[in-house]
Symmetry: C2
Subunit: 451 residues, 2 copies
């Protein structure tokens, strides 16, 4: 725990260039720690791009014939704002009620340390040996959307070859419910740009004849989704693969109360969306379209009577298995063009995309992870999905051809990306025990027997 | 002209507190100038409110039995941004091609000086006498929306009693077409505020079940106006008074080309709005609804996947004769509530309102103004309307019970509120000649004869 606490003290905020020295200090901390623990080839990998943060790599590959795990995590953290809402300062780790509070406690320094500590303990206990081969790949741009990892994995696919990736960057469904995430939504994110008049006009002089770019934007947005949550983009649902009957059945057994979820997590007068699907299915297995911001005109104090000549809306679609980001982006672009009112020109510009992912729960790396989880936590493993996107999973699948095992030891109330982020200390310890057990379960006994 | 140039050098930007000393300097300039010119009771009237700018008052009331004119103008100006687009600096008045370029040249320092100079010349030429009584009321908050003038007129209605107000703060319909404005649209301006979740949420974790305040705002806005420009607020057109057949006939005779207007003034692919009314009627005599800004979510660089919990849209309606601001505000509030989708609460908050105004062209003060215009400019006077709102006209009507004569000597391309504002010097000179003539035309001959 002392080393984790030292690690959490480093404000490795990757999105803020003012902290670049601290980000590098965190990378070097991880590298040196892995080196001392007995990992080999521990190194920082820099990107030639200005402002990029290094990747930490280290491996131990002396178990011939045994599986190789690519252990992924990130050492960077979200900005801690708003600072005044923290009970104890974000970079002064503090223990209260069995929880360790600090920025990065759950996302992802604490969970990364589960991987690091479990390998280190196994090496100590087995006199420098592991039951499996491991390659650590730890990045510093997860929270800032950097592309260093993409390029590195793409260009070094052969060196990174492995049988499965293990990612500890998700949460359990609920306390005491060991969980493996087997599905992620993808994303298509971009901007709708609308242009009307040559410049902003005065609504007294031109109101009634000049196009209003913000009104056109509102009309386009309103045309893309019905009030009951159906996306009105032609063809959007054509390739959607519904979850299996078994999966849906399993989700129904999860301890989940939609009304409590509404009250405690959302806080709105009502939940919205497709009423013919239950809440978990809507989040995990249905596409959604969301508007994130609308820029244009005047939004300061007081009243200005401008007719905005241009407007931009940030918009995204979350994709589910079966959907293809490229196809969805083009369907969205067509829908925007079709919905564009007279007097303006509207265009969708793609900013980034990630594919949805499905991980087969029958995959042996997943099944053994479930066994290890059950040994450490008791109970039976819940196979859940995540409504968010973890682009690295798609990258590993595409470039390395390997599945990812998404083993999360966080909890839904860990306040990641928010003030008072925490990690339950007992989960941290059980996570280490689970991983030690996992390496052992993955050992292919016949192959290590002497001939 | 020298005095006007000195006046234009003062950067009396009322909206920017950094210029409050300059605003006061402009007020004092006007007061001292009127005093020297032979006006009486020249004074600055301060408001107890912090940040308010003084009113300049001066009068000459020694023509018993003759009409009294309330001469209104404003000595403050709009901010000059963007500075880099000015050919000559905004506060260094420069003459090019017969125009005087400076911030305030047309709006309103130059036109105010027409009133000041015409009175001063008349006093000089008549050995300290005028054919009519005059009261100057010159404010410094016209461009910043200050309320000092409202309170002053309301509280001093008896002292300000007059037979008509004269306002030189509008433009001619086109060069060489002497114009009097006989109708103004009113305005109802406010904000639609939408609240959904208790706080912003992540679209991965909540997209598909949580309400999106920006989407709700877009849906509400899209429901308030059809794509062909009809306002869809119940009852909104009930009290609209159409222009008279004679007025419509006169507008048709004005030199106006809608295609040229689109190309040169608007610059959009097409004009929009109610296609069953021509362009001038749409601007002058039809209500319009415009959205001026939408605040909520994330509009910075890059991509954030926030589901906004709240959003605010600035919105206004322009009103035409017959419509009542209070009733329209309440119709809009009801329409917003009715259009509010599930999962959010939406509310309209009124910020300000001004009634529409109609001025009878048969009013003798208007008819004599037309005569004076025709004497100075030649041709026949066009009675036009203005799509904007001049709240002072409604104030004079309500509190003083007097009509306003809207005599404008600006031109449509004077670039008021924009870089390279100008005033045609020959219009300035003809404006002074017109006003001198006007005072003379208003003299009621029988009453000034000795008994």
């Amino acid at each position: 725990m002392d080393d984790l606490i030292s690690f959490l003290r480093i404000p490795s905020i990757s999105a803020d260039p003012a902290y670049s020295t601290e980000v590098r200090r965190a990378a070097e901390f991880v590298r040196a720690w892995l080196d001392r623990a007995g990992l080999e080839n521990a190194q920082l990998i820099d990107s030639p791009e200005a402002g990029a943060h290094p990747i930490v790599y280290a491996d131990w590959t002396h178990a011939p014939g045994q599986p190789t795990l690519l252990l992924y995590g990130h050492y960077d953290v979200q900005p801690p704002d708003p600072l005044e809402e923290w009970i104890s300062p974000p970079f002064e780790p503090t223990i209260r009620n069995g929880n360790l509070y600090a920025r990065g406690a759950a996302d992802d320094k604490g969970q990364l340390f589960i991987l690091m500590e479990s390998v280190a303990q196994t090496l100590r206990e087995n006199r420098g040996h592991l039951p499996v081969n491991v390659k650590f790949l730890i990045e510093g741009e997860e929270e800032s959307g950097g592309r260093h990892i993409d390029r590195f994995v793409t260009e070094n696919a052969a060196d990174l070859s492995a049988d499965a990736a293990v990612i500890c960057d998700t949460a359990m469904f609920a306390p005491e419910i060991p969980s493996i995430t087997t599905g992620l939504r993808g994303i298509v994110y971009g901007e709708i740009h609308v242009e009307g008049a040559a410049h902003d006009l005065h609504s007294g002089d031109y109101g009634g004849v000049a196009p209003n770019a913000l009104e056109a934007t509102a009309q386009i947005i309103a045309s893309l989704k019905s009030r009951d949550g159906k996306i009105l983009i032609s063809g959007i649902y054509d390739r959607v693969l519904p979850p299996s009957a078994a999966e849906l059945e399993a989700w129904k057994r999860l301890p989940f109360d939609a009304e409590e979820f509404r009250r405690r997590e959302v806080g709105s007068p009502a939940l919205t969306g497709e009423s013919d699907f239950d809440v978990l299915t809507r989040i995990w297995a249905r596409p959604t379209l969301e508007v994130h911001g609308i820029l244009g005109g005047y939004t300061g104090e007081g009243a200005k009577t401008v007719i905005p000549a241009t407007a931009t809306a940030k918009i995204s679609l979350r994709l589910v298995p079966g959907q293809n980001p490229g196809e969805v982006a083009s369907q969205l672009a067509s829908a925007v063009a079709a919905a564009c009112p007279a007097g303006v020109i509207a265009q969708f510009n793609l900013m980034h995309a990630a594919p949805p992912c499905l991980i087969d729960p029958e995959n042996p790396f997943v099944k053994k992870a479930a066994q290890a989880l059950e040994a450490a936590f008791g109970g039976s493993t819940a196979y859940i999905r995540c409504g968010g996107s973890i682009p690295i999973v798609g990258l590993f699948e595409q470039k390395l051809g390997i599945p990812s095992v998404l083993l999360g030891f966080g909890l839904p109330d860990d306040q990641i990306h928010a003030p008072n982020e925490k990690l339950l200390i007992s989960n941290y310890l059980r996570g280490i025990a689970c991983m030690i057990q996992y390496y052992e379960l993955l050992r292919i006994t016949p192959l290590v027997l002497p001939a």
